[in-house]
């Protein structure tokens, strides 16, 4: 049985969660269904609801097994699905500053070489993407953005590079990521951002919600240095 955006599959996980699957492969319609159910659940949580985790094509719903069970939670989710709206849930647009100074973009020249573009054309392509936050993962604040234009989509490197600075702007395949920690990565480092994803704000500690759209704005090295101070 293959799940679809209109006919999801509910998979029980251990004693405490249900995974709602809207597709078996990356698919915008499936992701839209994930966002819709996530928002409907946030607005109308069931008894014993703990947390929900949206990903590309599925939504994890964790519950308290002392209060409820898989069947009760699944029934609640089915009710939410039948009352769904037809519009795509609206995310907010977030701006991320990016500096492509050669010292901060160690892979820009290689990406240019492998795509047959000039470095300036790679930058233009990166800035032209329609980015949206599909999910978080890997580490706190690591938001996976879909929307990298096809002309600069490259497979990840064969092996990871260690000690990549926080704030690095990375691409691999259709995805883009702004790192929040010093971490190894096998993605291509094409710039550096001074925009904090971990905002340090108590009310809004993460810049993005899943479903937000993201727009990159180019800044000069001088502006980067001022913003990073």
């Amino acid at each position: 049985m293959i799940p679809t955006p209109d006919a999801p599959i509910f998979r029980p996980i251990a004693e405490r969660a249900v995974l709602v699957e809207f597709g078996a492969a990356l698919d915008q319609a499936a992701h839209t269904s994930v966002l819709r159910l996530d928002q409907a659940l946030a607005a109308n949580p069931c008894a014993g609801f703990c947390e929900a985790v949206p990903a590309f094509v599925n939504l994890l719903v964790e519950f308290d097994p002392l209060t409820t069970d898989h069947a009760t939670v699944t029934a609640h989710l089915c009710r939410l699905l039948t009352t769904k709206t037809t519009t795509r849930p609206a995310g907010n647009e977030r701006e991320v500053l990016v500096c492509y100074d050669p010292a901060l973009s160690p892979d820009l020249a290689v990406v240019a070489q492998q795509t047959g573009l000039t470095a300036e054309a790679v930058i233009s392509a990166h800035l032209s993407g329609d980015y949206a936050v599909f999910m978080y993962g890997f580490a706190p604040g690591y938001a996976y953005l879909g929307g990298v234009p096809a002309v600069i989509q490259l497979d990840r490197k064969p092996s990871a590079v260690r000690g990549v600075a926080a704030g690095s702007v990375l691409i691999a395949g259709p995805q883009c990521l702004v790192t929040t920690l010093l971490m190894p990565t096998g993605w291509w480092i094409i710039g550096r951002s001074p925009t904090p994803i971990l905002t340090g704000d108590a009310v809004r500690p993460f810049l993005f919600d899943v479903g937000d759209t993201v727009c990159f704005r180019r800044i000069t090295r001088a502006e980067f240095d001022r913003a990073s101070r």
Partner: protein, 315 residues
Amino acid sequence: MTAATFRVAFAGPHVTVQDGGRPGLMRYGVPASGPMDRKSFALANVALGNPAHQTGIEVSLGGLSLQCLSGAVTLAIAGGGFIVQIGERKLGAWAVITICAGQTLTIRPGPWGSWTYLTFTGILQAKDWLGSQATHGSSGFGGGKIETGQTLTITEARVMENCEGPMPCPVWARPLHLLRCVLGPQDRYFAAETIAAFTGSRFELTDAFDRMGLRLRGPVLMPRAALAIPSEPILRGSVQISGDGVATVLLSDHQTTGGYPKIATVLSDDLDSFVQCRPGDVVAFRAILPEDAITATRLNRGRFTAFLDRMSGSG
């Protein structure tokens, strides 16, 4: 109010500040963290009359030595069968004791267990991140790693002589070698004989064991075909199978999403005593139905809560 201060004479790797954890933020890539063995941690707090989630220290097999510089405070130790000493005086692995200026507490690996917990009758001063002092290991966010040479301060430190003495270690706090799990959520990517190999074989714990996860050595559990499954959410207790067929059980500081198939998920209740196993120990998995997992969890959780209530009543 008085304070007690300590100098960290020695701290091994993976010794961290922990509290009840930081649930609710997995959608932002943040796992709950918190103690690897949540039950022993809660017992160590309740033994002192503290709330079960009050901030304490998780001690790894690396060990910990604290020299009390000033003041006095009563503390509790519960978890694995570690060797605990104040100066030359040996205590039991589970104990409540008062330490005074000039004395040194030393905790080092003993006959069994991988983690033990140190709690205080007072407030351990530690950094907060997103409403919790639990340390997220790979980022160091939260209370943070305990480092040799640093100073720890306990404010509102009290001495509670009436609590002092050895504590019994309940049998369910010992290492658990048979783990109950529910198959899935990606068991469909494995052939029936691979599932049978998973539930019918023994697995040895490797030394790739930290707060993120524990890699096992056992039969190769290859998925049916080369997979490109979209990354999906992960829970603590997920048994993830990497591309080369190796199983890893994900633990407190797990990644929140990932693209490897999860053949099964271990019951939360079994993880606390599973993490008290050591590299080289042998474990096996028993698959049960989701509804049976709920029944078992309610039974176990009820017993545990009753045990905590009796402890706080008698404390």
